[in-house]
C-alpha cells in the first residue's frame, strides 16, 4: 500500500459486511413496494384470483377419470402460489429497471457494499414477498375449500416450491434488468416466466394432455417444481421419489439464474 499525505489518508471506514447491507436493501425493497399500490395490490390479488378463477372455470376437470384430486381448488391453488412467487421474483427485476433507468442504481453501485449483497438483498425481499403471497393464497384457498391432504406437513413443499420459483424469478429478472436496462427486460421477464410455468401440468396432469404440450411439459424442468408445489394437495402419497425432482430443479435453475444475475451485475461497469 502507498503512503499517503496526511490530507488524503483514507478515513478508515470499516468494511461493509454482506448481511447488514443485504438486509438494508431488502428493507428498502419491501418498503418501496408498499408505496406503489399500483404494483403491490395486483401482486397479491392476481395469484389469489388465479387460484380461485381457474378452479371455478375449470371446475369440471376433476371429473376426468383418474384426476389426482377431487377438489379443483386443491389443483389450482399451488399454481396460483407458483405464479405469484414467480412474479414476486421478477417484480424485483422491474424495480431494478426503474433504479437503473433513474440512475439510483449508480448510487448503490458506488457504495463499498459487497456485490453479493446487491443480489442477496433483493433476493431476500423476493422471498419475503413470496412467503406473504403464499400465505394469503393458502388462506383464501382454504376458505374456498382447499384441504391439504397430508396435513400441515403438506404445506412445506408448497412453500419450498414458492421460494424456489421466487429465487429463479429474482435471478432471471435481475440478470435481464442488468443487460437491457430498460422496459424491454420487463416484457421478456413476464413472457418467459409465464411460458415456463404454463408449459407444464399447470392446467391438467400429463396423462390428460395431448400432443405437443405433453412432450414439452415432460422435459420442462419447471414441471417438477409445479409437481412439488402440489404434493401436499393431491391424493397420491408424499414420498421422496416425488420430491427430489422439484428440489433438484430449484437448486439447479436457481443457481444458474443467480449466476446469470451476478454476471450481469459485473458487466454493468462495461457499458
Amino acid at each position: 500500500m502507498t503512503t499517503l499525505d496526511a490530507n488524503t489518508e483514507p478515513r478508515s471506514v470499516a468494511g461493509t459486511r454482506t448481511w447488514p447491507a443485504a438486509l438494508g436493501l431488502m428493507r428498502r425493497s419491501l418498503v418501496n413496494i408498499t408505496r406503489l399500490p399500483s404494483a403491490f395490490i395486483p401482486s397479491i390479488m392476481m395469484p389469489v384470483f388465479q387460484a380461485v378463477a381457474f378452479s371455478g372455470t375449470f371446475f369440471a376437470i376433476i371429473q376426468i377419470p383418474g384426476f389426482p384430486t377431487d377438489r379443483s381448488i386443491n389443483w389450482f391453488l399451488p399454481l396460483g402460489v407458483v405464479m405469484g412467487s414467480g412474479f414476486a421474483g421478477i417484480g424485483i427485476g422491474f424495480s431494478t429497471i426503474n433504479d437503473l433507468e433513474g440512475g439510483f442504481y449508480d448510487r448503490i453501485r458506488l457504495t463499498p457494499a459487497p456485490r453479493r449483497a446487491l443480489l442477496t438483498g433483493p433476493l431476500l425481499a423476493a422471498l419475503s414477498r413470496s412467503t406473504i403471497v403464499t400465505a394469503i393464497v393458502l388462506l383464501v384457498g382454504v376458505l374456498f375449500g382447499a384441504r391439504p391432504t397430508h396435513g400441515v406437513l403438506g404445506i412445506v413443499p408448497l412453500f419450498l416450491a414458492a421460494l424456489g420459483i421466487a429465487t429463479i424469478g429474482t435471478g432471471w429478472g435481475l440478470g435481464l434488468a442488468y443487460r437491457f436496462r430498460d422496459m424491454r427486460a420487463a416484457a421478456i421477464m413476464q413472457l418467459t416466466i409465464f411460458l415456463v410455468i404454463f408449459l407444464t401440468e399447470a392446467q391438467t396432469p400429463l396423462f390428460i394432455m395431448e400432443g405437443w404440450l405433453e412432450q414439452v411439459a415432460r422435459i420442462n424442468p419447471f414441471n417438477n417444481i409445479i409437481r412439488l408445489s402440489r404434493l401436499g394437495f393431491l391424493d397420491a402419497p408424499m414420498t421422496f421419489d416425488n420430491t427430489w425432482g422439484g428440489l433438484l430443479a430449484i437448486v439447479g435453475i436457481g443457481v444458474g439464474a443467480l449466476w446469470f444475475a451476478r454476471r450481469g451485475l459485473d458487466r454493468l461497469s462495461d457499458v
Binding site: 471506514v13 438494508g24 408505496r35 406503489l36 433513474g102 449508480d106 449483497a117 461497469s269 462495461d270
Partner: protein, 320 residues
Amino acid sequence: MHNAALPIVAEGLQRYFGSGDDVVKAVDGVDLQIQPGEIFGFLGPNGAGKSTTVRMLTTLLRPTGGNGRVAGFDIVDEANDVRRNIGVALQDAAIDPLMTGTELLRLQAVLYGLPKATHATKAGELLERVGLTAAGDRRVGTYSGGMRRRLDLALSLIHEPSVLFLDEPTTGLDPMSRISLWDEIRRLNNDGTTVLLTTQYLEEADQLAERIAIIDEGVIVRKGRPNELKADVGSPTLFLNVDAEATQQATTLLATFGELRPSPEGALGVGLDAGPSAVSNVIRDLDQAGITVRHLELHEPSLDDVFAEATGYRLEGADT
C-alpha cells in the same frame, strides 16, 4: 509528490464505446494529477467526456485503456477501497423518489458499513448541514430540484470521504441554489476534502476551482490555474477615455505598450504586452504628456476566451 500519493491520478485513461468503424472515443487518453485539498474543475460541453471520466474514476465504468488511482487505490483492481474513500454526487441527482431523505441517508449508512449506533445522528447531522431537516421525513418525489441536489450531496458525505466527485452539481439549478451549493463545496474543501468538480459553466469553474482542465472530444486541451490560462491566451486589454483633442497624442503613446485593440465608441484600447503591471506606467506616461484620463478599465481575458482559443468554439450560454 509521487503520483501514487495524490488523491486522484489518471494516466492515459481511455474509454471507447462500440467497436469497428462505429467506435466512439468518449475519453481518449486523459492525464490528471490532482493535489490533496484542491478543488479541481473539469470543464467541457455536454458529451466532451467529463462524465465518462468521472464514471471511470468512481469505479462505475471500466476503462478501455490507461489507469487511474483514487485515494491511493487502483480504480479497477482495488475498486472497493476506492469506493470506501470517495463521495460522489451524480449528475441529475438520481435518487429514489419513493424513499424519504432520512431513509435514504440511513440506507447509505448501512451500505457504507457505518456502526449502527451512529446512523440516526449521522442522518440528522447531514440533513441539518444541507438544510433539509424539515423535509427529512418527506418522500424525495416531493422535493424540488435544489433540494434533491442538496440531499444528493448529503448522501455522498455520509462516510466522510477524503475525495469528493461532483458531476455537474449545479446544472439546472436557479442562481440562489447554485450559490448556496458553491458555499457548501468551499466549506467541505476548507475541511480538507479534495474535490473534483465537472461543470459546463465557466463561471463555476472560475469561482471554485484552483486548477481546471478543459476537455473536448475526449481529450484534455488545456490544464492549469485559471489565471495562468487566461494570461496564456494573451495580454489584458486596457480601455481608457481621454479628452477628444488629446486622442491623437494618446493613441501614439499607447501604441508603445502593445497593439491597439478595437474599443467601444469614444474609448481607446490597447493590449498590454507587459501584463496588468504596465497600467501604472501608462498612467504616468499619459500624465507626463499632460493628458487627463477620464475613465479607465482593465479587461483580463476570461475563461471563455481560454475555452474558445483551446477548442475553436465558445460554450453556449457562457458568461463573459
